[in-house]
Structure formats: C-alpha cells, structure tokens
C-alpha cells in the first residue's frame, strides 16, 4: 500500500482550499496557458498534417473516383509508397538523402573532432586564433556555402562559368553538382557540431586522467586511443546524430547543387510536391522525414542512454595540460590551414570577387570588373548579365532587407522571451509532470527538418480554424513569424533552461519569505538575473533566424521575400553575381550580430 494515498472524507472547505491553492498561484496559471499554447502550436498541427495525408483534397477529386473532399483515403500514401512513380518520388530521393547524410557524417565528424581535439588539448601554435577562426565557417549559412561552391566549380552545364573553369580547368558535372558537391558543402558546415561537442567535452575532462595514463607508462598514441577517445565518444556520437538528422533534412544546399542536374533528395522532392500537386503527398513525405529523424535520435538514446556523457564527471578543476605534438604539429598545422582555406578563405574570396565580375569565369582583369552588381542603375550598361538594377538600387533588395530585419527582430524577440519562460517552467518543474511534458513538447520541432516543419504549418493554416477565430494565415508575414518562432523553440528553451538553472531556487524562496508575490519575484529577482542570459540567447536566435532559408522557403512570395530567399531565387534564375552580392550582405549582417552577441557572452556553441 502506498502510504501517501490517504483517503479523507469529502469536505467542501478542503476542496475550496485546494482550488484556491492552485488558482492563487500565478505560476500554475502560466504553466497551464503555456501547455495549452504548446499543444495548439505543436501537437495539433502535427496531427492535422498526419490527418491530411489520409483525406481527399480538392486537387485530387478527379483522380479518386466517387470521392468527395474530406473523405478518408489511402490514395496519397499508395501514390507515394507503391505508385508507378514511387521509385522516382520516394525511394530514389530517400536513397539520395541517406547517402548524402551518411557521407556528410563520414567527412564532417572526423574533421570536426580532430579540430576540436587540436584546439582543446594540444600545444598547436596559435591555438586561440585557430579556435576563433574555426567557428567562422559555421556562421556562413549553408545555402551561402552552396553558392560559393557554385562560384568556384560552376561549369557550362548551368550557363555561366565558375572560377576554375574560367582559369581553363575543366570541371566535370559530378564535381560541380550532385552528391559530391552536396556532401562536401554540408561537411564544411556541419563539422561545427562535432567540433563544438568534442571541444567542450575535452575541456571538461580533467587532464589528470590522461596524465595517469602517462604515469602508467602509456605512449601518446596509446593514451589517445584508450583514454581520450573513449571519454569523448558519447559526445562524438551525439554529434553524429545531429549531423545525420540535420543533413538529411537540409533543403538549401541540396536544391542549389542538385536541382540543376535533376538530383533530388527527400527534402527537395518534398518541396516540389508541396508547391505543386498533389500537396498531400508532400506532407506524407515530411512525415517520413520526421520518422527518420526520430528513429536516429531514438537509436542514439538507446546507445548512449546507459553510459551517459562522461564530460562533466571528471571535470573537477579544469586543470588541463596540453599534449605535446612534437613533430606531428607540422602536418596538423597544414591540415588546419587547408581546412580554413577551403572552408573560409577561398569560398569567401571567390564569392566576393564574383560580385565584381562582369562575366563569372572571365578572370579578375580590370576589363572584367564592374560595380554594376552593387550600384548599377542603368540596365542598358550591362545587358549581358542581368536585367535588374544593382542590389543597392534594387527595390526587391530593399524590401528583402526590410523583411529580413523585421522578421528577425520580431521573431527572435518572441522566441527568446518564450524560451526563457519555457526554460523557467522546465527547470522549476523538474521531476514534476508539467516540467517533463513541457520539455518533450518543446523538443518535437527539433525532430523536423525546416521544410517539413513549415509544410506542416502551411497545411495547418491554409484554412481558417475555430470558426474564423484563427484566420487563414497562408501567405502572410504572421505565419512566417509564427513558424520561425515555434521552430526555434527547442533551441531557445534550451538556452532559457540553462539560464534559469543558474538562478538558484533559494533566491526565489528568499524573496517569497520576504513577502514578494509572483509578479514581484519575477520582476525584481528572476528577470534582472536572467537579463544577460536572455540577451545572449536573443542574439543567437537572431543569427539563426537571419540565416534561415529552409524553414521559410515554402511560404515565400513577392511580398514577404527575405534576403536569403532573394539570393536563392536569383541563383536559380542564373543571376549569380547578384545572388553572391546578397549573400555577402547576409554574411556581414551575421558577423556583425555575432560580434555584438559575443559582447554579451553568447557562445556560438549553443546555437543550432
């Protein structure tokens, strides 16, 4: 018998007090409201999307005999899984996605881990500088990387020449476009997950563990193999999972580098369906993407669950002695230099230079240089490369800058605020049902790739709900904001949780004892203490929304274009120099934000 289940006779006084206890505490009300909102914004759209894949839509009326709109149907799933086109719509792209994902892991995880180890644990010359430089490529949005890849490797297949073809080096299609390009491009981006994970794990592991190995007579490679690597293995595994689930769902890179030669992944194919028809097939594909991501994360938890991360266990002091590399430091230095050259210097250089070129691939001679792409105003002067004005005189660009700033400011403010609240609820509700429920609900958007997530929202808000109380948001700016906010909940609430964890519960209890009510407690104690964490969380969300392309690409139209989307469309139209010029602006914008964020102690390692 459970001793704490004491049955008392019913008493109205008791009931009244019990109700008062719950209602009088504003915290309970906030928890209730948050849970309802999370439920409406996450669970219902998900269910709605699942339901829509089983419901006849208007577009397919003619194809499904005798059906009416709203009837139950397996048509879409049959179309996707067993139809005549199944191999082209699902299995081929699925195979491509998995191949790209796996190879991205195979390239990026070793590269990132080695970089992390070099920076955290060795006496490689210029460690601090390297540590700073190494995260810069990660700040370049992945779709920007694909543009700079094109700037370097483009060949005649897509019209204008790239840098290398311009030098007379023939570039085959398999290198310029398709899986190789996609894998390398994504690796140059997602290496950051492994780098950040391994580096911070190594920093928190006491180097005495390694020194003990040395005392026992082990040689350096032996210590690395049997002490260091096993200790960071859990962090490496979770980096693998993140890289895999992220790269499978990535749209921008795959679209830029694959669409031109008809190489589709699940994400790019899905977008075609959602923008075209039958739409519900696209939703079914996004469910497959979600299941895929969930499976990967579940498998990881199964594997790591038992032997959690060792990272903090041995981290008593943070005393860390650097490993002497000796002669090995020269090849390792060369490795870093080569990495930085390919990940940062060359793409940036080519990207920036291309914005000044009349003809891409035409070399950097003065006769081929122009400022037209930036400030050109008379289309007659440069008829061969563009029909638009230079971006600074281009209305589309001005509108895109305005939209981008509006979107990032509004969305990141809301996201960061919600993140703090959600973090507060999950830390103060640790071990209680509502704490873990909040954490789980907030985690769901993490499982979805950007395209799948926005597909879900488009599906949900393409018709009015609650008898018009929630209007049709399709094509509105509000929907883009809402989508950006909810999609960034997992990250924002993680930063909120970390922030709230630093505020000891006793500080709040002390205020309670001194007579502060909930409002006073929040405004005088919690918020002032959470301020710095809030600002850094805000800036990181800001950067991440400013970079975003995948998430909002489905919802974009002429009125709501952002900078990243404009660059993407220009690139698809073949206006490479213009696309590059916009990318450079985005890059500058992000770098400036990052520098500001750093002032407030933001850590780029916490942003994904």
């Amino acid at each position: 018998m459970k001793a704490n289940k004491i049955h008392r006779p019913f008493s109205s006084k008791r009931l009244k007090n019990q109700i008062l206890n719950v209602v009088k505490n504003p915290f309970n009300i906030i928890v209730a409201i948050s849970l309802v909102i999370l439920f409406c914004l996450i669970v219902i759209p998900l269910l709605q999307m699942v339901a829509s894949t089983f419901t006849v839509a208007k577009g397919e009326l003619r194809r499904i005999k005798g059906a009416e709109v709203g009837d139950f149907t397996l048509y879409y799933w049959k179309y996707l899984l067993t139809g005549q086109m199944a191999s082209a719509t699902l299995w081929g792209p699925l195979k491509n996605s998995i191949v790209c994902g796996v190879f991205t892991v195979l390239v990026s995880v070793p590269v990132g881990s080695i970089l992390g180890w070099l920076v955290a644990r060795t006496d490689i010359p210029g460690r601090k500088l390297i540590g700073m430089l190494v995260v810069i490529p990660y700040m370049i949005p992945s779709w920007c990387k694909s543009l700079s890849w094109l700037a370097v490797f483009r060949n005649s297949t897509s019209g204008s020449l790239g840098f290398l073809e311009g030098l007379g080096i023939p570039i085959p299609d398999w290198l310029a476009y398709g899986p190789v390009a996609i894998v390398l491009c994504m690796s140059l981006h997602y290496y950051a997950f492994s780098y950040i994970h391994v580096q911070s794990a190594l920093r928190s592991i006491n180097s005495e563990l390694e020194e003990m190995g040395e005392i026992c007579g082990a040689k350096q490679p032996q210590i690395l193999r049997s002490i260091t690597i096993p200790l960071v293995l859990p962090s490496v595994l979770s980096a693998v999972v993140m890289t895999l689930s992220k790269s499978i769902g990535t749209y921008g890179v795959a679209a830029n580098l694959g669409n031109r030669i008809g190489y589709f992944t699940l994400a790019t194919k899905m977008k075609n369906f959602i923008n075209g028809s039958p739409q519900n097939v696209g939703y079914a594909m996004s469910i497959i993407l979600i299941i895929l991501a969930a499976l990967i994360i579940f498998a990881n938890q199964k594997m790591i669950g038992v032997r959690k991360s060792y990272a903090t266990i041995g981290g008593k002091g943070g005393r860390s002695t650097l490993m002497r590399l000796g002669k090995a430091k020269y090849p390792l230095m060369a490795f870093i230099v080569i990495f930085l050259f390919f990940a940062m210097v060359m793409p940036m250089f080519v990207l920036i230079m291309e914005t000044f070129q009349k003809s891409t691939g035409g070399g950097y001679g003065i006769e081929n240089l122009t400022l037209y792409n930036w400030i050109g105003s008379n289309p007659d002067l440069a008829p061969y490369y563009t029909s638009y004005k230079g971006i600074f005189f281009n209305d589309d660009f001005g509108k895109a800058v305005g939209n981008t700033i509006l979107l990032t400011v509004i969305a990141s403010t809301i996201t960061a605020l919600c993140g703090q609240f959600l973090g507060y609820i999950s830390t103060r509700g640790r071990g209680k049902w509502y704490g873990s429920l909040t954490e789980q609900l907030v985690f769901i958007p993490y499982l979805m790739s950007g395209v799948a997530f926005s597909a879900m929202y488009v599906s949900m808000f393409s018709k009015p709900h609650l008898g018009g109380l929630i209007p049709t948001l399709y094509g509105t700016f509000a929907l883009i904001v809402l989508t950006s906010v909810v999609k960034h909940f997992p990250f924002a609430s993680r930063s909120g949780t970390a922030n709230m964890m630093q505020i000891a519960v006793e500080l709040e209890e002390a205020a309670e004892i001194n007579g502060a009510g909930f409002g006073k407690k929040m405004s005088r104690i919690v918020l002032p203490l959470a301020k710095n964490g809030f600002i850094s969380g805000f800036m990181l969300t800001f950067i991440s929304i400013a970079k975003e392309l995948d998430l909002i690409i489905i919802m974009m139209d002429n009125r709501t274009t952002t900078m990243s989307y404009l660059a993407f469309t220009y690139s698809q139209e073949g206006l490479n120099q213009m696309a590059d010029a916009i990318s450079v602006c985005v890059l500058l914008f992000i770098l400036v934000c990052y520098i500001i964020a750093n002032r407030f102690g933001a850590d780029i390692g916490k942003s994904w």
Binding site: N4, R14, A510, N514, G515, R524
Partner: protein, 372 residues
C-alpha cells in the same frame, strides 16, 4: 516571540516518506536545534515550518493560529507566518547591494523610507558590517555574506528566525565567531530561533533545546546537556560527542531492586532509582555499557576502585591527550586534559565514576540506566 507546534506532520516526495509523524513543540524564546546526519529530514522540517514545503499530513500552529492544516488543505503563505529564513547558501540577490538586499522585504511591506533606512542600518550594526552597505554580495567574503544574510533576516523583525546550516560554508575560525554572534542575537532580540545543523558542537553550544532526528523521525528532544548525558538510544549516543562514546558489551540482570551489570572492564550494581522507565527483560540479558572518554581517569598507581588495563596507543594533541586502552578483548578511549605520556603496552589503572555510566539494552538499544 512565538510558540510553534507541529502535530503529526508527514511529508512525502513521491513514495519517499521523508518526515514520519513529526511532533514538536517549540516554546517562546527557545533556541531549538534540529540535529541529525544529512538526509534525516531536519531541513525538510524547517522548510515545512517556513511554508516552502507543504506536508501531506498534520497541523502546524504558530501562537495557536493555524498555519498548516493538511486535512483542509490549508497552507498559509510563507510571508504570512511572521518568520524569516537564513539559507545555507545565503541566497543573497547578486544584482542588489547589501542595502538593496536588506531593504527588499521592508519595501514590500511598504514601510516608510526613513524607517527602512533605520532598520537596514540597525541590523547591519548588529552584525557589525555597517561599512559594507553599498557593496554587492560578490564583493564580500563568505563570512561577510553570512552576516548580510542574517541581517536581512532580522531586519524584518521576525517572530521566528529559521537558520538552515548557516555556518557550514565557513572556515573553522569564523564558525567559532559566528556561534557567539548567533547566541548574542538570540539574547538581544529574544526571538524564537530554529536552527538546523549536522554539527553537534554547534547544537550543544548554542541551543536551549535539541531535537535529534533519525531517518525522518525525531528520536529525542532534550536540553543539550541532557542529550549529552543521556542519549536515548545507542545511535544517539554514538552520534553525540567527540571523541565518540565508548561501548563495551556486557551482561545485565535486574532483580527488582538493583541492576547488576558486568563487562570486561568491571562489575557494577546500580540502584533502581537511576533507571529509566524502559522495560528490562527477565533474567540475564545482553547490555551495552557506554562511557564518555572524559569520564575515564588514568592513574599510574593501583588504588581503590581502580582497574588495571594496558595502553594500546597514545595521541597527545597539546590541550588534550587521547589514550587507547585495552581490557581483555575490549578496547576503549580515554580523554585526558593536558599532555600525558604513556608507554605502549604499559599497565595503568583507570577509575570510572559509576554515576557517569549509561547502560543500554543490547536488544532494543534503548537507554535503561541514566547518568547524572
């Protein structure tokens, strides 16, 4: 100035029964210490009193006014209980100055400005840290932060002051200083104090009463010296006192008039008048003879009531000397004031006053013969 009464308090965390039927009366003006090893429920009891935890069972009153009644699910808010709490971690708000920290609660009470300033200054003067009024907590040392935390608690003139292991983060010297400081506050303010600690020295030196906790229950409530002289059971005896009390296994028999006890050290007959109300078994039974190390006097020469034993080890430490002794197979410790030096395996003669000996029932571990 208040009298606190806890009746049948039960507290669960999930299925974990952390407080079991706690009954405790704290009289007006008491300095009550809740003493026990970590995880025994003493801090939880304090939090129940403060209102930060809600017990599932029981009633609590302060000055006869009901503050907690689990039967009607009534729990008064912490701020309505007229108390204040000093946290183990001090819980000073890092974004406020010392003045801001102390004034916070007073501002919420909407006291006039000059009254707030007066009370802030007065409480700081009492803690002798007036000069730090405009500092931030992280600009103060641990001991100074401690004083600010206490100043913040007393500034609101609480009827009841709760202290949760306030000295555990201080070094040994500061602890001695703060002990006398707390004693002085208790006397000056006349406030009822409830003090949680696992340190028996703090408990014994400062309290007027000690409640000894064991696994979520109160095993004994007594004034410090009573607790020291007559711990209620073997566990309590073992916990109180440093160096630890000596336990010697023995046999006892009660004939209705006298308690006959025999162990390897000696034989005693104790009067019925010295015995507790605890029932004793018929016939001969196992008992434990408990003797405080300072009650064992060592002599170099034989004499009346002196028992020959051999020296096993000798630990002089300046102000006192600990001597390990052996009688048959039993070993025990003696504490001598000042420096003493004995050769190992030397035979010495010890004297133990019978009235200072505790006898425990070996079976039930309860005290059957008191010391005085």
């Amino acid at each position: 100035m208040s009298r606190i009464e806890l009746k049948h308090i039960d507290k669960f965390y999930g299925d974990n029964h952390v407080l079991r039927d706690i009954n405790l009366v704290i009289e007006d003006g008491d300095f009550m210490t809740l003493l026990g090893p970590s995880g025994c429920g003493k801090t939880t009891t304090l939090r129940v009193i403060s209102g930060l935890e809600k017990p599932q069972n029981g009633v609590m009153t302060i000055d006869g006014e009901e503050m907690v009644n689990a039967d009607t699910a009534y729990y008064a808010e912490p701020s309505k209980r007229g108390l204040n709490l000093v946290f183990q971690s001090y819980a000073l708000w890092p974004h406020m100055t010392v003045r801001g920290n102390i004034a916070f609660g007073l501002k919420i009470k909407k006291l006039p400005k000059d009254e707030i300033e007066r009370r802030v200054r007065e409480s700081l003067r009492m803690m002798r840290i007036e000069e730090y009024i405009d500092r931030y907590p992280n600009e103060l040392s641990g001991g100074q932060q401690q004083r600010v935390a206490i100043a913040r608690a007393v500034a609101s003139n609480p009827k009841l002051l709760l202290l949760d292991e306030p000295l555990s983060n201080l070094d040994a010297r500061l602890r001695v200083d703060m002990r006398s400081e707390l004693q002085r506050i208790h006397k000056e303010l006349g406030t009822t104090i409830i003090y949680v600690t696992h340190d028996q020295v703090e408990a014994l030196t400062m309290s007027t009463k000690i409640a000894l906790f064991k696994a979520g229950e109160i095993s004994q409530i007594a004034p410090p010296m009573d607790l020291y002289m007559n711990p209620i059971d073997l566990e309590a005896a073992d916990f109180i006192g440093n160096p630890r009390i000596n336990f010697l296994a023995g046999k006892a028999r009660f004939d209705g008039e006298k308690l006959h006890v025999e162990c390897e050290l000696n034989k005693w007959d104790f009067d019925k008048a010295d015995m507790t109300d605890e029932e004793v078994p018929d016939g001969e039974f196992d008992c434990v003879v408990a003797i405080r190390p300072e009650q064992i006097q060592i002599f170099e020469e034989a004499g009346e009531d002196r028992i020959p034993v051999s020296v096993y080890a000798n630990q002089p430490a300046g102000s006192e000397t600990l001597v390990s002794l052996k009688a048959g197979s039993s070993d025990f410790l003696s504490k001598q004031i000042g420096l003493a030096s004995y050769a190992l395996d030397q035979t010495v003669y010890v004297h133990v006053a019978p009235e200072k000996i505790n006898i425990y029932n070996g079976q039930t571990t309860r005290l059957i013969k008191k010391a005085y």
